[in-house]
């Protein structure tokens, strides 16, 4: 009776999608996500924005100029004039990060008396960066003094880019990016986890409602219990997919529209500030510096952050991320995991009379799911090939979350095949068990159900 199954699924879908709560939640969540993105973006900007350090160089060694040339998007040096007290007042008035003072009698070989003034306590991070720039400037100066010309210096100034390369069994090498891999892994795991939880509970509630409103007997005289259960599970899955899809699209839309509106002045401010504080002496470098600063601000733009998954997929094709395996695996574990848990949630809804009684049955169901989530992020993400990762990605109750975390890091084909095979066995098994509990439970009223009782239901005849 495939058509009845479809009718049931259709009803489950339409009644839920038309509910006011569904519409409100679907529209509201993207704005919450966009708002969250803006807050994170602002924090990131204020944290990692350009810091300007005034330099008062009275040494006459040209260190100030060198420092200005060494400015990075995070740290810019700005030469100032005037006496030390004036400079001290100046950097505070301009709200710059600090003042670096190079005394008149500075010996290149044994530099003494260089001071860094900051507002309030100076963070280790800031001091380290200034220190490093200063060291580099002195090193350059010394090399110049030893008779090297500018070309030789440029050649000497080694900037070593470190690129990580991953090697697979066949010896093929590809770029590796642990950041993107981790990002994909966690995003997939979170998606599966929340989907199972959000919509699994809806299955349970739906069955409970049918039971408590006593509509079950009418339904059962027309539909087989199995069709009723699977129709509900599939209908709610469609609701969930619709909701997730809309959330994705609307979040993307909301961040694309809202974030530039809100963040524009932030980025603009950074640009003008840098431009304004880079007068005459450094005209050659200042435009690039300003652009760099703006670019760095752009990088923090949450609109792009929100797209991090999309971007990651683009990059993934260039990196050693098994993109098709991930897509295939995600769909398999998403469906398998949802079916497995959905059937169990349905069985719990059928077994109990009272929603408050669900707790004792919910616990053993949610335990492996929560465990796989917690261990997934604490253990598997760090060691995706370890024994915990292996075993959890084999057990059907934990594999939907555990295996998708492992997927982006590369999983041997036999493990993937075994795990999916076990998952299929697992969900066929749970659907069978659940449908037996369901069949008996939905017509059972006013009985406090125990595990003993449930195990008896397995063997009731049609």
């Amino acid at each position: 009776m495939a058509s009845k199954f479809l009718l049931v699924a259709q009803r489950e879908y339409l009644t839920r999608v038309r509910k006011r709560a569904f519409v409100v939640l679907t529209l509201l969540v993207p704005f919450i996500i966009a708002g969250f993105g803006i807050v994170v973006g602002k924090l990131a900007l204020s944290d990692e924005g350009t810091e300007i350090v005034d330099v008062r160089d009275t040494s006459g060694l040209g260190i100030g100029t060198k420092l200005v040339q060494m400015s990075t998007p995070q740290l810019q040096f700005l030469p100032v004039a005037g006496s030390l007290p004036e400079a001290k007042q100046g950097f505070q008035k301009d709200k710059h990060a600090g003042l670096l003072y190079l005394p008149e009698s500075l010996d290149v070989q044994a530099p003494q008396g260089v001071q860094f003034f900051g507002k309030g306590n100076i963070s280790l991070n800031k001091e380290t960066r200034v220190q490093k720039a200063l060291n580099d400037a002195f090193a350059e100066l010394k090399m110049q003094k030893s008779g090297l010309n500018q070309t030789q210096l440029d050649q000497l100034r080694a900037k070593v880019p470190l690129s990580s390369v991953s090697v697979d069994e066949t010896g093929k090498e590809k770029d590796s990016n642990s950041g993107i891999t981790t990002g994909i892994a966690s995003a997939l795991a979170v998606l599966i986890y929340f989907f199972i939880f959000l919509y699994g509970v809806q299955i349970m509630r739906g069955v409970g409602e049918e039971k408590s409103s006593r509509v079950m007997e009418v339904m059962l005289s027309a539909v087989k219990p199995f069709d009723l259960m699977m129709g509900k599970i599939m209908g709610i899955a469609a609701v969930g997919l619709t909701q997730f899809l809309l959330w994705g699209l609307l979040s993307w839309g909301a961040t694309a529209v809202l974030v530039p509106l809100v963040m524009q002045d932030e980025v603009g401010k950074a640009k003008t500030e840098v431009a304004a504080t880079s007068p005459g002496a450094t005209t050659a470098t200042s435009p690039t510096v300003a652009d760099q600063a703006a670019a760095s601000a752009d990088q923090m733009n949450p609109a792009k952050r929100a797209n991090v998954i999309g971007g990651a997929f683009e990059k993934a094709s260039k990196l050693n991320i098994p993109i098709w395996t991930i897509i295939f695996g995600f769909i398999a574990y998403f469906l398998g995991g949802y079916l497995l848990y959905g059937a169990l949630f349905g069985a719990v809804g059928a077994a109990v009379d009272d929603q408050t009684d669900t707790q004792q049955f919910m616990f053993p169901i949610t335990m492996p799911l929560i465990l796989s989530y917690i261990l997934g992020f604490s253990v598997i993400l760090r060691n995706p090939d370890g024994p915990v990762a292996f075993w959890m990605s084999m057990i059907p109750f934990t594999s939907p979350v555990a295996m998708v975390i492992r997927l982006p890091f590369g999983v041997p084909a036999w493990q993937l095949a075994l795990s999916i095979g076990l998952l299929i066995v697992g969900f066929v098994g749970t659907v069978w068990v659940a449908s037996r509990i369901y069949r008996v439970g939905i017509l059972m009223y006013g009985k406090k159900v125990t595990y003993r009782e449930l195990s008896k239901w397995m063997f009731y005849k049609g």
Partner: protein, 320 residues
């Protein structure tokens, strides 16, 4: 009144159903004639609901067979059967119209057909304005009407009504009664499970009585009542009634004012009512004389008691 000559629409043969600890049905057989109203009677827990659930294919029998119009009962018959369970229930957060369409579609009706019939029924029950309302906003009586419509919308050949009048006020109960009779006129057979004996006598063509998982009695209502009559006559009249006679026995006698009396007198075998009349005419003035035919209610109680162990009789007295 009876049309049991034709092949029955439903035939239950030797059905057994066992639940973990107890036997719900123990070899029950019965036949429901076409275009008739069939009363399924029995005290609580007798097995009525178990039997109905087998006929509606909610559960299966452990052994025995059920035939629908000579065919072994199978899922293709779902569209030919309508079922109103004792525990009424609809989807609370669904609109009346949509709900009726959904339930009709599940029984194989097309959406368009369902729509037309729903309009007709809502008009007949005068609840057309409620089609767009959620079921939970309806009064209980109104919900019952909607559920009744849901039961018969797909024009089933066999309609099973479990306590159809519960939850209805007398006016609406009459409305439903008329609809049931009309459905029978239009050719449907109706299985009617109830405790309301007066409606059984009024409406049912035949009955089956189930007690303690077994059928203890079945047949056409008039035949059963005749079968249970025990040669007892009710007499009312004027005068001093004193019966001492080997052929008659007074079961009950009540004296009223002005020498008025009422009595129930049982005839012994071989004695005719005329013998009793002749005996009476010489002694008192007879004003009323009729044979006492036991009501279904009396028969029900008597049969239930007979099939119950002595120890349970007192509880039965309390219950009945």
């Amino acid at each position: 009144m009876q049309k049991s000559v034709a092949a029955p629409i439903l035939e239950v043969r030797n059905v057994r159903k066992q639940y973990a600890a107890h036997t719900a049905l123990d070899g029950v057989s019965l036949a429901v004639p076409e275009q008739s109203i069939f009363g399924l009677l029995g005290p609580n827990g007798a097995g009525k609901t178990s039997l109905i659930r087998i006929i509606t294919q909610i559960t299966g029998a452990d052994s025995g067979e059920v035939f629908f119009r000579g065919e072994k009962l199978n899922p293709s018959h779902i569209g030919d059967i309508g079922y109103l369970p004792e525990e009424r229930g609809l989807y609370k957060k669904m609109k009346v119209g949509e709900q009726l369409i959904y339930l009709a579609q599940l029984r194989g009706l097309s959406r368009a057909d369902a729509l037309g019939r729903i309009r007709k029924w809502l008009e007949r029950f005068d609840i057309k304005a409620w089609a767009e309302k959620n079921v939970e906003d309806l009064s209980k009586g109104m919900q019952q009407k909607v559920q009744f419509i849901a039961t018969v919308l797909h024009e089933p050949k066999l309609i099973i009504l479990d306590e159809p009048f519960s939850g209805f006020d007398p006016i609406n109960a009459n409305l439903i009664k008329d609809e049931i009779l009309r459905l029978k006129q239009e050719g449907a057979a109706i299985i009617f499970s109830t405790h309301r004996m007066e409606s059984v006598e009024e409406m049912c063509d035949s009955i089956a009585l189930i007690n303690r998982s077994r059928k203890v009695l079945d047949g056409p209502v008039t035949a059963i009542r005749n079968q249970f009559k025990n040669n007892t006559y009710e007499v009312e009249g004027q005068g001093k009634l004193l019966v001492v006679h080997p052929d008659f026995e007074v079961v009950e006698q009540r004296e009223r004012e002005n020498d008025h009396f009422y009595a129930r007198i049982q005839l012994h075998a071989g004695t005719t009512p005329n013998d009793l009349l002749r005996f009476l005419i010489g002694r008192v003035e007879v004003q009323a004389f009729r044979e006492q035919i036991p009501s279904i209610n009396d028969i029900f109680i008597r049969r239930v008691r007979e099939t119950m162990p002595e120890t349970l009789n007192e509880t039965a007295n309390a219950l009945l």
